[in-house]
Symmetry: C2
Subunit: 350 residues, 2 copies
């Protein structure tokens, strides 16, 4: 199994990514194709004593797409950008999955233009796993498509459900529509139009509307929303978690000697928690609906996060999530009826 | 000064609200008109030894609107519902402000139908103060209008700016548009159409797009969004804060004896933090754009939260926020030009 890793265009430079790949090939037994500036990559491989590791391959790419560039234009004009070259490896089946931590917009654009959508998928969606009180919830779409239509939301629900099952190991995952109230009559135009479609979709276990406060509660496994709301929520979670932990620290530091001692004593226990809350531990988000497993990590991912992401990518290939999405999207409940067809498909799978 | 307090339709019953009023009249020197079932209220006043307090008045209302009822229909059919009676006290100028902790939808409907909008305001918006690393940020709209138009967003910005200035004491508050990226070209249709309007609005200090992670950072004072996004974010904040504090507690409890001892030592320091993060300490949200100060508290508000809310309502009346909104909305930058008029209005105020 070969994973393509775009090592360019990230916050900390290629060094963290190359180190992550060096760690990953040892741990997961896969091959990694490092895509980017070859001399830089070779030098880094040497630095980490991995220049002769047969599992680490290099694919030169002379260009980089910057975070500040317009994604669509950059992907179209920079034919030799690392994300484009890496995506082409995927399209040509020279690699099985891709991991990127450069510009999210550029990654989505490269996936759309150079890899293509799964037949029947209207819009790809970014699925992001987030920690809950009882495990993990998947939130989607977290930013691929900002102005979604009800039919996109239904496909998000189907793809998110498959993600929860195959990537998180949740059987019959509970799917909720992110809304401002539990009642079917609540919500904006998009939510109101989406609800009945989710209700009749036989491929998912729809539990109705969920509210913002339910996301971390562990009472829902798949939270469906449009890419605007999902992206705002996800970034807010990042900011709020940091703010609360900073406030906890501040309260302890201002709380006198005993509080400071207490703070020291709880530090080891909180270290584990910080890891739980760290989105990087989850190995990034998965772009669902394109023709191969395509993982998008945070731009500030360090070596360990990249290693995890490669591990998750290996899992994504093994679980054959793309084949399952292809099958389910073909069998999704039709707007006219299609119920019997869907039930048939379920029976076959069980 | 008289504050109308709707004591019905809340999670814990009228008892907490009556007690909150008893505390408030002592602390703020205002009068409170308790609106709801008179025998129940009189009994509770007696229980708290306040049956002869001349600052506590009672206005009977025979009906209650439940959280589960359709707000618009309930307000129209239940003419003697406590929220309707309380709103009428406001309209007839028998009271100066209103505090409710019943159904938010019913409160908004009562305000719209029985109190009315300020001239020129297209849609009222709910402004909710939330804690940040450096103080308080105001988020609006947090649920009054779910499908907003760009012109509603501009008025939200103007009203939120006034809120930050008069209620939070922030001079020249920084106004940000909640979006999925900092660049002007990012966002959904609503955000893209709103950005240029905010940019040319002379009454506000617009700092551009802000992302979810900026809300708690203290780098923006007024965060503008539509009522759907605002409501999701606000409820998510509630859930996430609870989840993180639960996780901190769990990590400490599982962390062995030393961690447990440490947990005990930091408890007093964290008590203050819990208060900071508690939305109830802020005295509820303010419905901006209607003809009198109209405060909406969480349905689960206890006596102390109600007391704070009454204090904030007193402040809202004293600062004459309604007059200032009336003035600024009349002077907002016109879609054609109107710049000179706006500048004139600013000069007069300074």
């Amino acid at each position: 199994m070969k994973i393509a890793l775009d090592v360019m265009g990230t916050d900390y430079g290629p060094s963290e990514l190359v180190l992550g790949a060096v760690m990953a090939v040892k741990e997961y037994g896969c091959d990694v194709v490092l895509v980017g500036d070859e001399p830089t990559i070779r030098e880094l491989l040497k630095k980490y004593g991995a220049e002769n590791d047969p599992h680490l391959l290099v694919q030169h790419a002379s260009q980089v797409i910057d975070m500040s560039e317009h994604p669509g234009i950059a992907v179209k004009t920079k034919k030799d950008a690392s994300i484009v070259v890496a995506t082409d490896l995927l399209r040509n089946k020279e690699c099985d999955a891709l991991v990127s931590s450069g510009s999210t917009g550029a990654a989505v654009a490269a996936a759309l233009f150079h890899l293509g959508r799964i037949k029947g998928v209207s819009r790809p969606a970014i699925a992001t796993p987030i920690p809950s009180l009882t495990g993990t919830t998947v939130l989607l779409d977290s930013g691929a498509k900002v102005d979604a239509k009800p039919e996109h939301m239904v496909q998000n629900a189907i793809m998110g459900s498959i993600y929860a099952e195959l990537m998180l190991g949740i059987r019959n995952p509970r799917v909720g529509l992110l809304n401002i109230g539990e009642e079917e009559t609540k919500g904006n135009e998009l939510a109101l139009a989406t609800y009945p479609l989710l209700k009749r979709e036989k491929l998912i276990h729809f539990i109705g509307n969920v509210e913002g406060r339910d996301i971390n509660k562990g009472t829902v496994d798949v939270v469906v929303c449009d890419g605007f709301v999902g992206n705002v929520v996800l970034k807010f979670a990042e900011g709020l978690a940091t703010a609360i932990l900073t406030m906890v620290k501040g309260a302890i530091l201002q709380g006198g000697l005993l509080a400071k001692l207490g703070g020291l004593l709880i530090t080891p226990a909180l270290r584990g928690l910080k890891k739980t809350l760290d989105p990087e531990a989850y190995g990034g988000a998965l772009l669902l609906g394109v023709r191969a497993p395509f993982f998008i990590c945070h731009g500030s991912s360090k070596a360990k996060a990249i290693k995890s992401a490669i591990g998750v990518a290996v899992h994504g290939v093994r679980s054959d999530i793309v084949a399952r999405i292809t099958e389910d999207i073909a069998n999704q409940t039709k707007l006219d009826d299609g119920v019997s067809q869907t039930q048939e498909s379920r029976r076959v799978r069980q």
